[in-house]
């Protein structure tokens, strides 16, 4: 018997309309756990680097995490993996909500889509009964509306629906997959779903998920619940409000936005407004949120309330979470009322809340600077809010300038030319980033921005405080009950970290310490993404209930796989390296591992080189960022080094790279 996982994947060939239920190899679970780990293995095996994102050969994998569907609190994430049309690298966006556990209860760990459907369809997975159904009547429907219509037509109010909106159908490079209160938004995976002709994947399951050692597993779950209660009663002092507790940042509950509005950049990530947060603004924004927010809500099996139901006057109700609360507001230089209203349209269209506002602000900046002109914006309103609505409608329909902008700032700037590239200034690996521009280089963040292959800072940071505490006594208090650290040395790193003087940024944490800290933070995210655990209860917040010391027991008693800290760390390193290998094979190299040029004002080129050199070595990568033959061997990934050698990415017996291969491909 398989425990925690079902041991079956659904393989769906959309071109031929063929559906197969395929048993998986339990040895793969042991090596790559599940979720992101096994997704990476499948993409490596089956999607060679020649495959374009919009090729029928590209796969779109919906995976539940290994522990989804078990009572492990907060373990509900769906990991969607494919090749991104925007970055042309491996994308692995995730969503919480209710979809992944439902898939497990239906009897599957993954749904693997290949090929392309000639007509728009949706998939209906109801335990053993799996159908490809006509979705022509859902053409152009909003993502939330689609879910509602499908539940009605199937007469299955309990079906969980992951759907795309118009943006996905029109292959907008930052289209999302929406699922009620959650979405997998980053890197344009909704566009791949649209390209495959799939409007929605709908699941209902009423089967059992088994636990290997039930009493032990439930005991661990109870400990987690008890610790959540403790943490809820004991917010971390000395950090900003949204970082004090557990869960993803409590943006739906928090009214105080002084920190975001005065420290993050407005417009096209350009303007800092230092005295923005007045009493008057606070009153108006609190009123806006309270008048539209009907309830704080959660994902499956989680006591946190990170999302909210929002009902803007005169518009349909939708659900929102986290920082999309402010992205539209700040990009349009507007207010919260506008932000909550336009986000309703954006959710129905199914677009990413980070990239979309930035693309629109970028377009308006090009207009102000004469690079785009009136003829690019026929009949566009003159006010900022009106322009945002106008642009959003053009982008998701790919009409006029919207067709160019729908490819994101990097590709749009290339196409527009005439100096537009300088305005696409906030990207990493062609992907739009949070609007943050800071002063002094932070070595830990430098490494995370440069090398994070989720290409999103929130998907690698966490656990370690973002800034030093000014007083040593406060630092001592902080480390006292910090049992989550994988090694005692991390406490010392933090104790000695000062805001100013010798032990401050950028030379402290030292290069070696920075490597240790980044590796720990990244490792916890990768473990979460294989297990399906929400980062909000694990890798993202300070002092979380899940950590490297209790995870091995969860896996042993839940999935029946013998696990300890070393073996788990090794597994995480294995599939993390495999993600790297997929991207290396697609042309990614050291030159792509860099934060936006203007992210920090004070840069230290020599230090930055040393950071990358040391971190690459630490990870077992050569100076180009390519995993070496020896390190691949240690991770049981000889098949990767063989492929690298065959392709001339590595030379035999010697890990120096052969000739330079360009990551830049000509866009089709």
């Amino acid at each position: 018997m398989r425990y925690a996982e079902t041991g079956f994947n659904l393989e769906i060939d959309l071109t031929r309309g063929n559906i197969e239920r395929v048993e998986t190899d339990p040895r793969d679970t042991e090596l790559y756990l599940g979720g992101l780990g096994t997704n990476a293995k499948i993409l490596w095996d089956r999607v060679p680097p020649e495959v374009e994102p919009f090729s029928p050969e590209n796969l779109l994998i919906f995976s539940a995490g290994l522990l989804c569907g078990t009572p492990a609190t907060g373990c509900n994430r769906t990991i969607v993996s494919t090749i991104s049309p925007q970055t042309e690298l491996m994308a692995f966006s995730m969503m919480g909500g209710f979809w992944a556990p439902e898939l497990k209860y239906a009897g599957y760990d993954k749904v693997i889509l290949r090929g392309k459907s000639p007509d728009l369809v949706y998939l209906w997975i109801n335990n053993d009964k799996v159908e490809i159904r006509d979705a022509s009547h859902l053409h152009g429907k909003g993502a939330t509306e689609t879910a509602k219509l499908i539940r009605q037509e199937l007469k299955e109010p309990k079906a969980q629906v992951a759907a795309i909106g118009l943006a996905g159908e029109n292959r907008v490079y930052f289209a999302s997959i929406e699922q009620g209160r959650s979405s997998a938004s980053r890197q344009g995976i909704g566009a791949v779903m649209g390209d495959k002709g799939v409007k929605a994947v709908v699941v209902r399951g009423t089967r059992d998920i088994n636990i290997a050692r039930p009493a032990e597993f439930l005991g661990l779950c109870n400990e987690v619940l008890e610790y959540i209660k403790v943490r809820n009663q004991n917010p971390i002092p000395g950090v900003m409000t949204i970082l004090q507790g557990l869960g993803s940042p409590q943006e739906m509950a928090t009214h105080d936005e002084k920190w975001h509005t005065e420290n993050f950049m407005w417009g096209n990530s350009r303007v800092r407004r230092r005295d923005f947060w007045t009493d008057e603004v606070k009153r108006a924004w609190t009123q806006a949120m309270e008048s539209m927010r009907t309830r704080l809500i959660s994902c499956y099996n989680c006591p946190m309330k990170c999302a909210a139901t929002i009902s803007p006057p005169g518009q349909p109700t939708y659900m929102m979470k986290c920082f999309s609360k402010l992205t539209y507001t700040m990009a349009a230089m507007s207010d919260l009322e506008f932000g909550l209203k336009i986000a309703q349209h954006a959710t129905e269209y199914g677009v990413d809340g980070f990239s979309t506002p930035q693309v629109m602000a970028f377009a308006l900046e090009l207009y102000e600077n004469g690079i785009l002109t009136d003829k690019d914006f026929p009949e566009m309103p003159s006010d900022s809010e009106g322009r945002f609505y106008w642009l959003l409608d053009r982008i998701v329909r790919r009409e006029g300038i919207g067709d160019v902008l729908a490819n994101g700032t990097y590709w749009a700037a290339k196409e527009i030319g005439n100096g537009a590239e300088a305005y696409a200034h906030n990207n990493i690996k062609k992907h739009e980033q949070l609007p943050l521009k800071l002063s002094m280089l932070n070595p830990v963040y430098f490494l995370m921005y440069a090398t994070g292959e989720k290409i999103n800072i929130t998907q690698i940071e966490g656990q370690f405080p973002q800034a030093p505490y000014p007083k040593r006594e406060d630092r001592e208090a902080f480390v006292k009950d910090w049992f989550q650290v994988p090694d005692e040395k991390f406490k010392q790193y933090f104790l000695d970290w000062e805001p100013r003087g010798e032990n401050s940024n950028p030379y402290y944490p030292t290069v070696q310490m920075s490597c240790d800290i980044v590796d720990w933070q990244e490792k916890m995210h990768y473990i979460d993404d294989a297990l399906g655990m929400c980062a909000g209860l694990s890798s993202f917040p300070l002092k979380p209930p899940y950590h490297i010391h209790n995870y091995p027991q969860f896996i042993s008693s839940g999935a029946g796989i013998d696990m300890d800290e070393d073996k788990l760390s090794q597994a995480a390193k294995r599939y993390r390296t495999l993600v790297r290998a997929i991207n290396i094979r697609r042309g990614m190299r050291r030159k792509d591992d860099k934060p936006p040029e203007n992210h920090w004002k004070k840069r230290f080129p020599e230090l930055e080189e040393a950071l990358l050199d040391t971190y690459y070595k630490f990870k077992g990568w050569n100076s180009e960022g390519i995993p070496t033959k020896a390190s691949l061997h240690d991770l049981d990934l000889d098949y990767v080094s063989e492929d690298f050698i065959q392709r001339g990415i590595l030379t035999d017996g010697d890990d120096a790279p052969s000739q330079e291969i360009s990551a830049e491909k000509v866009q089709k």
Partner: protein, 179 residues
């Protein structure tokens, strides 16, 4: 009237305003009632359900009550604070009109047993938002035999009203011959 006797009544106080819709109650209920205990998880086997319509802001945790062979002939709709609740939203019955509270394989009815043997029902324990709170109170009840007798007579009376006393007597006579 018979003698009074003390009985502990357990009930779950449900605050629909505090429910965040996470369904941890369903999950842990199914785990507790698995054999061996906690060995499997399947909310479709749970004896508690969160009846929800997120876009209408409706979240009603309902725990399973008695099985009923026939569905109601008339049904209600409630409007509370401007929200219209579905006809069966508050009903605890395992009933032919819906899928709730039935084993998914056999269709056999499920009924909440307040997690016998545990300090409190696990749905209550796992609801950190206090949408579910256990309440216990002592009540004086009639001796059970007396009560049953009374119930039987009420039932027979209503049957007699509907069919006439003679028919009931005939039916009873036929039934007793069969035995």
């Amino acid at each position: 009237m018979g003698e009074k006797k003390k009985k502990t009544i357990k009930s779950i106080k449900i605050d629909v305003d505090k429910c965040n819709g996470c369904r941890a109650c369903e999950l842990v209920c199914s785990a507790f009632h698995a054999a061996p205990k906690y060995s499997s998880n399947n909310p479709a086997r749970a004896r508690i359900r969160v009846i929800s319509e997120p876009l209408k802001d409706i979240y009603v945790p309902v725990y399973a009550g008695e099985y009923t062979a026939a569905e109601c002939s008339g049904r209600d709709k409630y409007t509370i604070d401007g929200k219209e609740y579905d006809e069966c939203a508050f009903c605890r019955a395992s009933c032919p009109s819906r899928d709730e509270f039935k084993e998914p394989d056999s269709g056999l009815p499920l009924k909440c047993d307040m997690c016998e043997g545990e300090e409190e029902p696990l749905c209550v324990k796992w609801c950190l938002n206090d949408a579910l709170v256990l309440e216990e109170r002592e009540e004086e009840v009639e001796e059970e035999e007396e009560q049953e007798q009374e119930e039987l007579e009420i039932g027979l009376e209503s049957l007699a009203k509907k069919h006439g006393m003679q028919k009931i007597m005939d039916a009873l006579a036929r039934m007793s011959k069969k035995d």
